[in-house]
């Protein structure tokens, strides 16, 4: 039986996979990809909740579609953020010829 929990667990798993990538990869672009996976997981969770709350339609604002709306905003903003982040990665690549975050450590201590 596929219950809400199935989706939530799926979301949590994917979130943590993305997290693992974000914490372990050295390539800045790969980190960005991992972050996108994390955001995706958040979206899955949100939409799952939204679906679960659909049966309570009318009980409050937005007929419990809020989760879906939220997901849309997240997708939008994530895209914008990705654009800015990629621009920055390219900018640093121009200067340092590397996008290995292990080497992007001029500033420390």
């Amino acid at each position: 039986m596929v219950t809400l929990n199935s989706f939530l667990v799926l979301g949590a798993l994917v979130f943590c996979i993305g997290l693992f990538g974000a914490l372990s990869k050295r390539n800045a672009v790969a980190i960005l990809m991992s972050i996108e996976i994390m955001l995706n997981a958040v979206n899955i969770t949100l939409v799952a909740y939204a679906s679960a709350f659909q049966s309570f339609a009318g009980a409050g604002h937005g007929e419990r579609l809020t989760g879906q709306i939220f997901a849309i905003f997240i997708i939008t903003v994530a895209a914008a953020e990705a654009a800015v982040a990629l621009a920055m990665i390219i900018a640093i690549y121009r200067r340092r010829s590397t996008i290995d975050v292990g080497q992007i450590n001029l500033m420390r201590w």
Binding site: L46, F53, R64, F70, V77, E81, A85
Partner: protein
């Protein structure tokens, strides 16, 4: 709650709206004129409009107004107005102090620069008056993305680009954890409206609800990143150091204030502190203690003044978190009020401190603590103002910094035995903090400079410093009325709970 959108609702939104429109205008000026002064003046003078509109909101100049608009997503209570004013103050000073920097060091055109700042400012102002999670998130991103950009704006400085990359990637991660937290909150309560969340937490849910707790922890982590609370603080030193100095000033005051504005809005207005307060208290208290310790201790051996200021701002966040902890433990407005006052004073003093750093940085391009040797003679007035602000940050009387810190600790002590340990840690860390704050004063006044030339500072920087110092002194004198006024704002935050 009105169901339509009309003039009153637009009025409530008007400060933010006007800031956004101003940013468009400034952006457009690039096409029309190449004179930087024009752009600068437009941005600066234009900010008077949102300021006026905010005051009209504060004093209800157009008749009695609703407190919410856009279906509860925009909440214009006293708390929101307080933060709007605070952010406008930040906006004024940051723009004022940026003039010379824009001339000399900027990668972007002035129009782009000021419009980015203004958009971020609009985001900050919206955070303070958002009554709903989605709005908060979006406002939060509106605040953050310009900050990422600002970090990377320095021409020919590799460190600036590095700071930008670090900031954007870490910021995105913190967004992710924040969103996950919001999602869990949504899952637990079924709504993103803070008032509804407050109702759900007070009526339906029970203490010990893990969904709620994990959601709260993640939200705290997300905003903890913004306010640079330990262990989410690690970005701060690098980004402060790498970013151009006016941007750093903007991070250190704007970003932090926005983070706290959102944190308080969600936790207090959203009624989260009503449940689980004892567990949340543990969380916040531990983080507060760590933040104070790491911030103040870490600053001691820094050589770069901006990096030192980053640690300083971490330490200051720790004091604020002490206020937050005392707010949570007994769910009283006292902690809230103390935090707002502290934030206010912190912002004014930090502006002054950074203005001094900018003055030297603009003139010489140097930003090591060592470079401040003999600054007291090379630029007596700026140095004096800077010294006053540093000492206020350190909490040395009679400046308002002492009083605000006193209030934070006073309130915390009043909350009971657990908090006293936190207060003692805080007091000891204040004593430690003098080690690096006074060090700057020491270098400015005691150490002989390598060369005795006079450091030229433009009027704008001098003016900013004058405003900051006057502010610090004025805040000291009117501290009582200030507390009372801020108290109204703090109380308004608790409004949702009584519904």
């Amino acid at each position: 709650m009105t169901s339509t959108i009309g003039l009153p609702q637009i009025w409530l939104l008007s400060p933010e709206l006007s800031v956004v429109l101003l940013s468009f205008l400034v952006l457009g000026l690039d096409l029309v004129t190449r004179r930087k002064a024009v752009t600068w003046a437009t941005a600066f003078i234009g900010l008077i409009i949102p300021l006026a509109l905010t005051f009209s909101l504060a004093f209800n100049t157009f008749g009695s107004r609703p407190t919410t608009a856009f279906y509860g997503m925009l909440v214009v209570d006293t708390y929101a107005i307080f933060f709007k004013l605070l952010f406008l103050l930040i906006g004024f000073t940051v723009i004022l102090v940026s003039y010379q920097f824009v001339e000399k060091y900027l990668r972007a055109t002035p129009g782009e620069y000021y419009s980015i700042i203004l958009m971020s400012l609009a985001g900050m102002m919206l955070i303070g008056s958002s009554g709903e999670l989605i709005t908060i998130y979006i406002s939060f991103e509106l605040t953050s993305i310009p900050l990422y950009i600002l970090a990377g704006l320095s021409r020919s400085d590799t460190r600036s680009a590095e700071a930008a990359v670090k900031y954007v990637l870490l910021g995105a991660m913190s967004s992710a954890i924040l969103l996950y937290g919001m999602t869990l909150l949504y899952g637990a309560t079924g709504t993103t409206d803070l008032v509804e969340i407050a109702k759900a937490t007070t009526s339906v849910l029970h203490t010990g609800n893990l969904l709620l707790i994990v959601g709260e922890v993640f939200i705290f982590a997300g905003f903890g990143f913004k306010v640079s609370a330990v262990p989410f603080h690690m970005w701060a030193p690098d980004i402060y150091e790498g970013a151009p100095t006016p941007s750093t000033l903007f991070f250190s005051v704007g970003s932090k204030a926005a983070g706290f504005a959102a944190l308080l809005r969600i936790f207090v207005f959203g009624g989260l502190v009503a449940l689980n307060s004892s567990y949340l208290w543990v969380m916040v208290a531990v983080v507060a203690a760590l933040t104070m310790i790491v911030g103040n201790v870490g600053a001691l051996l820094q050589t770069n003044i901006k990096r030192m200021m980053a640690y300083s701002s971490i330490g200051q966040a720790g004091y604020l978190l002490v206020g937050f902890a005392s707010l949570i433990i007994h769910n009283t407005t006292a902690g809230d009020q103390a935090m707002l006052v502290f934030l206010f004073v912190y912002i004014v003093t930090n502006i002054g401190a950074f203005t001094g750093i900018i003055a030297l940085g603009d003139a010489t391009g140097r930003e090591n603590i060592r470079d401040f040797d003999g600054f007291g003679r090379r630029s007596p007035w700026i140095a004096a103002g800077m010294a006053v602000c540093f000492l206020a940050l350190a909490g040395i009387p009679p400046m308002a910094g002492f009083l605000s810190k006193l209030v934070i600790f006073w309130v915390a002590w009043g909350q009971g035995s657990g908090m006293t340990i936190l207060v003692i840690i805080g007091l000891l860390m204040s004593a430690v903090s003098i080690g690096y704050y006074a060090n700057v004063v020491w270098r400015m006044y005691v150490v002989e400079p390598e060369k005795r030339d006079y450091v030229q500072t433009p009027v704008s920087v001098g003016l900013t410093m004058a405003v900051a110092v006057a502010g610090v002194i004025a805040l000291t004198i009117v501290f009582g009325p200030l507390m009372a006024q801020v108290g109204i704002g703090a109380n308004s935050l608790f409004g949702a709970l009584v519904h």
